[in-house]
């Protein structure tokens, strides 16, 4: 291929020279070039290497269907592999390089694999690499994995950076009446028609200019400019460099907008790309058609491209792709490009398979009844062998020298977007193409995407589609538009030629591979695709699929429709994962929930941890302390003096209404009907299937008003559950529930000196004496700073303890009152780790125990279940497996050697049972300052009673360690609760 930049013409801006780098060397182009057109003009015929055989590849198209010019763009962390040079807009400083080659795409050591190509037929890897060659001796996967390492290195295409992508992306939303995809003659007309009728229209175009096919025909440019101006006037929202990559349910389209990929120095405030979710009332698909090639020997060589692409390079980019051009044609669409290339100074010969071709344009030689059988030339076509049809095939018909071979073998409408919407592609034998079938949705195909080939009728087709999109009756123009019928052609074989002819050049799938698949029974389209990998490369079979189907149909002796067509999946062209993630990356991956005391906690030295989506204080280290020292000190301080813990993340749900007590009575296993006003009660709720769902205290604030608390991580689910019960199952109950979690700042003040600490902070008149506020009492309170809230005498730690609830914004003020008073009394702030210690000592369960497979009895809470009422889960908790005595039950665990330690996650088993499922497991472990040694909670078959006097072993093989333990009651400290009541 001896391409050159023409002296004039094209839509490039010759006043703006652009420097870029190709494989490390400087090259030049113009504004308005694609990387492909600039590479072509710079004399780079070989720009890629194929997937399997590492064959040299040149530019094969002028669009997103490209199979040859696939390169890596950008450097370092900004390197983007597998970019189609034909769709990459050129910009100053762009750096691109070849890929899948060493040392470079012009001289690739990997091309030796081509020498062994005869052994590397489709699916050969399923038949070997299992064991020791040549007869695959051996067992296991060891040998395969050695082969695999080599295969993985050879496979793949470009290399991705291992550095984090430094660029930002975003997602956006839009809606419109009519979405028009594609801005060729049909799309432009459709958008204008709808907009002038007052519809809100979005027009998306993947290119950086509107016009589609019109851009390749200078005679249309003036008309195109008028249309574009009219669109603007009519208020069409035009989105350039934007691909509609998929159509989804209910008129939703996914778009990706490449915001800065064409800019040399983008504004850092801009995202690199933006993914749009568009909700459209109707969609017009005017995505055009792609020109097909033909399978013949050497059809993948640099210098073989589609005729339309060659014309586009000449007219739009001012690059003549070759001086001596052969066009192999089977239809009328070849003659426009032939005239263009001849007009640009090339010597053009059209080989028209048909016996009666149209008149030759000026300067074009036409040879009827001829086509091409073979292309020669290692790094670029130098000559082609002609062929003529004979009975049962083709025969060689002499050679022609050339430096460019163009293929004009018919067109395939881009029906891909409809494929995901269940629009079936139906074969039209007369046009030798797939056409989109009917859609039951507001989806309308127009122009070449509907098989309309001539421009004038494409516009009419666009107008009709727009009218249908607006609910008007408008018949679509018939597909077709050529004066002479196409002579279908998919493969040319002459008897003595054995070189590879490619069906899917990107994946190196050959015509022989298709026939091999047939021979081995992989005859359905989907089997063919999977066995040969046809259509699974980065172009997803945009060009090669139809040839593959045709070859399979021929092998089967059937028609193409009988073979069927594969379902195209989104995205239409590949979409960056970064763009699909948008801004939800890094710390924004998921929301971060902070309590009203978050800043206060940090200011007072908290080390934080995650609890679901919440950030919670983990421990408050003092100088020289790690977590181990800090939590033990904090837990000890609570037992000895007083500690304050932020419990704002606990779920809080207001339950209000005349039937609120009845509602709670059904939801919880224990009774709530008779809970007095001013009292709290610990409740457990089950799922329908009888397993424990959540627990917490619920406070009766008034006759018809309760405040339910839930676990931190269970809050959302409990809220949804209560709403479901009230709205779907028990609509007769007059109850309203509202989440108030975020309304409250809440702290637990726990320890023997908790009351005096709080009393020192209360306004006159608030009485929290034992008489006024006994254990499980709830009362209004007023702090010394005037803040009002609730105080409840409830305890998770097992000490005398109070929970104080104040409005969220008053939380820090409350802490400013409480903390000096606690500190004065030798108190501390304590976090989740110490909270864990305290609750483990008491045998109180949390999410570590309640893992969704635990029953009320398993958790040792069976006695809570009321026998006087039915409650949710009551029926199914009585199933036989759940009532077995040998189920694992909650227990406490002491190391037999009190100086020893063990870990949560250990398996509990009887001594000597070194293997097997064991008898239970450890859920939580802590060093107990109160008991002076390590303790744990766990579940073990039959519970503590069954292990009375029998030692167990806590086995932790994955982390090393095995510890003999005593199984004890889970209530390991102050079992009678004297401390919390007293």
């Amino acid at each position: 291929m001896t391409a050159r930049r023409l002296d004039a013409g094209g839509r490039i801006d010759r006043t703006r020279r652009i420097r870029f780098a190709w494989d490390g060397a400087e090259a030049r182009g113009f504004a308005g070039d694609t990387l492909a057109s600039a590479l072509m003009a710079s004399g780079h015929p070989v720009v890629g290497r194929s997937f399997k055989y590492h064959r040299p590849r040149g530019i094969m198209s002028a669009g997103v269907e490209e199979s040859g010019a696939i390169v890596t763009v950008g450097e370092g962390a900004r390197a983007e592999p597998n970019v189609k040079a034909t769709a990459q807009e050129l910009y100053e400083g762009l750096s691109a390089r070849g890929q899948n080659a060493w040392p470079n795409v012009r001289w690739d050591a990997g091309s030796v694999s081509g020498l062994f190509g005869r052994f590397f037929a489709a699916g050969f890897y399923y038949k070997t690499f299992m064991g020791l060659p040549p007869f695959e001796w051996g067992r296991g996967t060891g040998l395969w994995m050695r082969y695999e390492a080599l295969i993985r290195r050879a496979a793949g295409m470009g290399a991705a950076s291992r550095e984090p992508d430094p660029d930002a992306y975003e997602t956006a939303h839009a809606r419109c009446d009519v979405l028009v995809v594609g801005s060729g003659p049909a799309g432009l007309r459709a958008a204008l028609t709808a907009a002038e009728a007052g519809r809100d229209v979005i027009l998306v175009e993947q290119d950086f200019e509107l016009g589609g096919d019109l851009l390749s025909d200078p005679s249309e440019w003036a008309a195109r400019d008028e249309m574009v101006a009219a669109l603007e006037k009519a208020g069409v929202r035009v989105m350039l460099r934007t691909t509609a990559f998929g159509l989804y349910d209910h008129g939703v389209a996914g778009l990706v907008e490449r915001v800065t990929d064409h800019l040399a120095a983008p504004d850092p405030a801009l995202p690199r790309q933006r993914v749009w979710t568009v909700r459209a009332g109707a969609t017009v698909v005017a995505t055009g058609a792609l020109e097909r090639t033909v399978a013949f020997a050497g059809n993948d060589r640099p210098g073989v491209m589609t005729a339309q692409a060659a014309a586009t390079y000449a007219t739009r980019f001012g690059v003549l792709p070759g001086e001596r051009v052969v066009i192999a044609a089977n239809n009328d669409s070849a003659y426009g490009p032939a005239a263009v290339l001849a007009g640009a100074g090339a010597e053009v010969t059209v080989l028209d398979l048909r016996d009666a071709p149209p008149d030759a344009p000026d300067g074009v030689t036409v040879r009827a009844g001829r086509t091409v059988a073979e292309a020669h030339g290692a790094r670029g076509v130098t000559r082609v062998r002609m062929a003529r049809p004979v009975r049962d095939g083709f025969a060689g018909a002499g050679w022609l020298d050339c430096d460019l071979l163009c293929m004009a073998a018919g067109w395939t409408p881009v029906v891909n977007l409809g494929s995901h919407r269940d629009v079936r592609a139906t074969w039209d034998a007369g046009l030798a193409t797939f056409l989109p079938g009917p859609s039951r949705e507001a989806l309308h195909f127009a122009g070449a995407a509907a098989g309309v080939w001539d421009r004038a009728r494409c516009a009419a087709s666009g107008e009709a589609a727009a009218k249908r999109a607006m609910g008007e009756a408008a018949p679509a123009p018939e597909p077709g538009g050529w004066e002479r019928p196409i002579a279908p052609l998919y493969e040319v074989r002459v008897p003595d030629v054995t070189r590879k002819s490619f069906v899917d050049p990107q994946h190196d799938v050959t015509a022989s591979d298709v026939r091999l698949a047939h021979r081995e029974g992989f005859v359905s389209v989907e089997h063919l695709k999977r066995y040969t990998t046809l259509g699974m490369a980065t172009d997803q079979g945009k060009v090669g699929n139809v040839i593959g189907l045709a070859l399979m149909a021929e092998a089967l002796g059937r028609e193409i429709p009988a073979v069927g067509t594969t379902r195209f999946r989104p995205p239409y062209t590949p979409v960056s994962i970064g763009a699909l993630a948008g801004r939800s990356v890094g710390t924004h991956f998921r929301p971060t929930r902070r309590t009203p005391l978050h800043d206060w906690n940090l200011a007072h030295g908290a080390t934080m941890t995650d609890a679901g989506l919440w950030r919670r204080p983990w421990f408050y280290p003092r100088a020289g302390e790690g977590i181990a020292e800090a939590y033990v000190r904090e837990a000890a301080t609570v037992r000895e003096a007083v500690g304050i813990c932020d419990v704002s993340s606990l779920g809080k749900i207001a339950v209000q209404g005349p039937d609120a007590a009845e509602f709670l009575n059904r939801v919880y296993v224990n009774g709530f009907l008779k809970l007095p006003i001013g009292k709290a009660r610990y409740g457990v709720m089950l799922r329908d299937d009888g397993f424990v769902m959540d627990d917490g205290t619920t406070w009766r604030l008034g006759e018809e008003e309760f405040l339910m608390t839930t676990t931190t991580t269970g809050a959302g689910r409990v809220m949804v559950w209560l709403e479901e019960l009230l709205q779907t199952r028990w609509p007769e109950l007059r109850v309203h529930v509202a989440s108030t979690t975020d309304a409250w700042a809440s702290v637990s003040v726990a320890g023997p000196r908790s009351r005096e600490t709080i009393e020192a902070c209360l306004a006159d008149g608030s009485d929290i004496s034992d008489a006024a506020l006994p254990f499980m009492g709830v009362a209004r309170m007023r702090l010394a700073n005037g803040t009002e809230g609730w105080i409840a005498r409830i305890s998770f730690s097992g000490e005398r303890a109070f929970e104080l609830f104040v409005p969220a914004l008053d939380g820090p003020g409350m802490m400013d009152l409480l903390w000096p008073e606690a500190e004065r009394r030798g108190g501390c702030l304590y976090g989740l780790e110490a909270l864990g210690t305290l609750r483990i000592e008491k045998g109180h369960v949390t999410g570590a125990e309640l893992d969704g497979r635990v029953t009320l009895d398993d958790a040792g809470l069976g006695r809570m279940a009321s026998t006087k009422k039915a409650f949710v889960g009551d029926a199914l908790r009585r199933r036989s497996e759940l009532e077995r005595d040998d189920r694992p039950r909650l227990v406490g665990l002491f190391p037999k050697d009190r100086s020893a330690t063990f870990k949560a996650g250990s398996i509990l088993h009887a001594p000597g049972e070194a293997e097997g499922m064991g008898a239970g497991w450890v859920t939580a472990v802590t060093h107990s300052p109160a008991l002076g040694h390590w303790i744990g909670l766990g579940f073990i078959s039959g519970g503590a009673a069954a292990w009375d006097g029998r030692p167990a072993v806590a086995d932790d093989p994955t982390r090393g360690g095995s510890c003999e333990v005593e199984v004890v009651s889970p209530h390991m400290f102050d079992a009678d609760g004297g401390r919390m009541r007293g």
């Binding site: 996967t141 991705a160 989804y248 349910d249 029974g521 199933r879 497996e881």
Partner: protein
């Protein structure tokens, strides 16, 4: 049946690949078979293979409404592991993994089982402990390759995960199964089909069951698009559409809902990730590996609504991409090539059924949620065993439909009786 080997590949290479023959036949249906398996997916084909191989039952047909392996077998993320902890699953999936290890040799078909390690990231000390419980159990029950890795080991093995301060959920370690990995899903279907066919099984494609003829509590024949086929015993293995077949047999409700799961593959890349990496935190769920061809293969949660259509919607596409970026921020410029959906039998406890049914000669293989791929060999093995012996082996004795009535929910996630929560 030609034996596959490097020698044969070499020989055929010299002969222009002309000597290969069909990997399985395309027979006309017979009037009657001893056993008819409905469903030519991975499990159905494996069942047919083991009926012939283990039990000598060869008068068998596999009925497939489309093309074999075209259901969920053809559209999954190909992860094979045995890190289950509930007793019934523990033994079953470990047996399956052992069958996987020799499967290529067994089938003389390279299923490309790549034991590249399955790394489950952990994000808190509590999560590490919960993982340790399961992995300790694995160690004690025949899975010596269960490991808990600290951060240093993990960083050394997978250096480009997001360990940085901007991670929303910091990685603190991982639970690892080193014998786990990935396999080539299509090869599994074709390998079992070829193996079964070579042992006399008829694989009947484009043969959709349209009716079930019963005589009391027995099935006598199946009406199909290729005619009536009488059957001595019948096995259903039609994940995704079990309920429809069940009702065709007049059997009512099942503890199954059909949900949509999407899967994703990127453009091919040079080696970027050498292991299977998964995580679940903050409501997210994600798994990723790289195929031998170079595509990053990944997925996450269900689309969260019931569906029988094999196509998903954008919210999960975003969700999964976010999860990908959260642990592998280098994927920003890697492009999604294709995403697609499959219809999953989501059972009420997340575990499967290999069991007898209310009909005497009907057997059920269903409820694989979205973990059916890894189960393929054992599922086929034990379903064949059940059909051949007409009674369940203790291995699968808990995989019954009546387990819910007994209170035996095999619930790995502890999610309860909500089918969609058992992904």
């Amino acid at each position: 049946m030609t034996r596959f080997s490097a020698w044969e590949v070499f020989r055929q290479g010299l002969r222009g690949q002309t000597g290969w023959s069909r990997q399985w036949r395309d027979p006309e249906p017979k009037a009657r078979y001893d056993v008819v398996i409905v469903g030519g997916g991975l499990h159905g084909l494996a069942t047919a293979f083991y009926l012939a191989e283990n039990h000598g039952i060869t008068n068998v047909a596999v009925l497939e409404k489309g093309w074999i392996g075209g259901g969920n077998g053809g559209r999954n993320t190909t992860i094979v592991r045995s890190n289950y902890a509930q007793p019934a699953n523990r033994r079953f999936y470990e047996h399956s993994l052992r069958l996987w290890e020799d499967l290529s040799h067994e089938l003389n078909y390279n299923v490309m089982f790549s034991q590249r390690s399955h790394i489950a990231l952990q994000h808190s000390p509590g999560a590490m402990d919960r993982a340790a419980r399961n992995y300790n159990l694995m160690r004690r029950t025949g899975t010596p390759d269960a490991e808990i890795w600290g951060l240093d080991r993990l960083r050394a093995e997978v250096p480009h995960l997001n360990y940085g301060p901007d991670a929303r959920f910091p990685i603190v370690g991982a639970a690892v199964q080193t014998r786990a990995g990935t396999a080539r899903h299509d090869a599994v279907a074709w390998g079992y089909a070829r193996g079964a066919d070579g042992r006399g099984v008829d694989i009947l494609q484009n043969c959709e069951v349209t009716g079930v003829a019963r005589d009391g509590d027995r099935i006598t024949a199946l009406e199909t698009t290729r005619g009536r086929i009488e059957a001595g015993r019948v096995g259903f293995a039609v994940a995704g559409h079990t309920s429809q077949l069940w009702q065709m047999a007049g059997l009512g409700g099942l503890p199954i809902e059909s949900h949509l799961l999407q899967a994703f593959v990127s453009e091919p890349l040079k080696p970027l990730l050498d292991q299977v990496v998964v995580f679940g935190v903050g409501g997210a769920h994600f798994y990723i590996s790289q195929s031998d061809k170079g595509g990053m293969v990944f997925g996450g949660d269900l689309d969260w609504y019931k569906s029988f259509s094999q196509r998903g919607n954008l919210p999960i596409v975003h969700d999964v991409s976010e999860a990908a970026m959260s642990i592998l921020p280098c994927l920003g410029r890697v492009k999604l090539l294709r995403h697609w959906g499959g219809v999953m039998d989501m059972s009420m406890d997340g575990s499967p059924f290999i069991c007898r049914t209310p009909l005497r000669n009907l057997y059920l293989n269903a409820g694989w949620n979205y973990g059916g791929f890894k189960a393929t060999p054992a599922s086929g093995w034990w379903f064949a065993d059940l059909i051949a012996n007409e009674r369940p082996d203790p291995m699968v004795a808990d995989y019954t439909l009546d387990r819910f009535a007994r209170g035996l929910q095999i619930d790995e996630r502890g999610a309860g009786a909500d089918a969609k929560l058992h992904g």
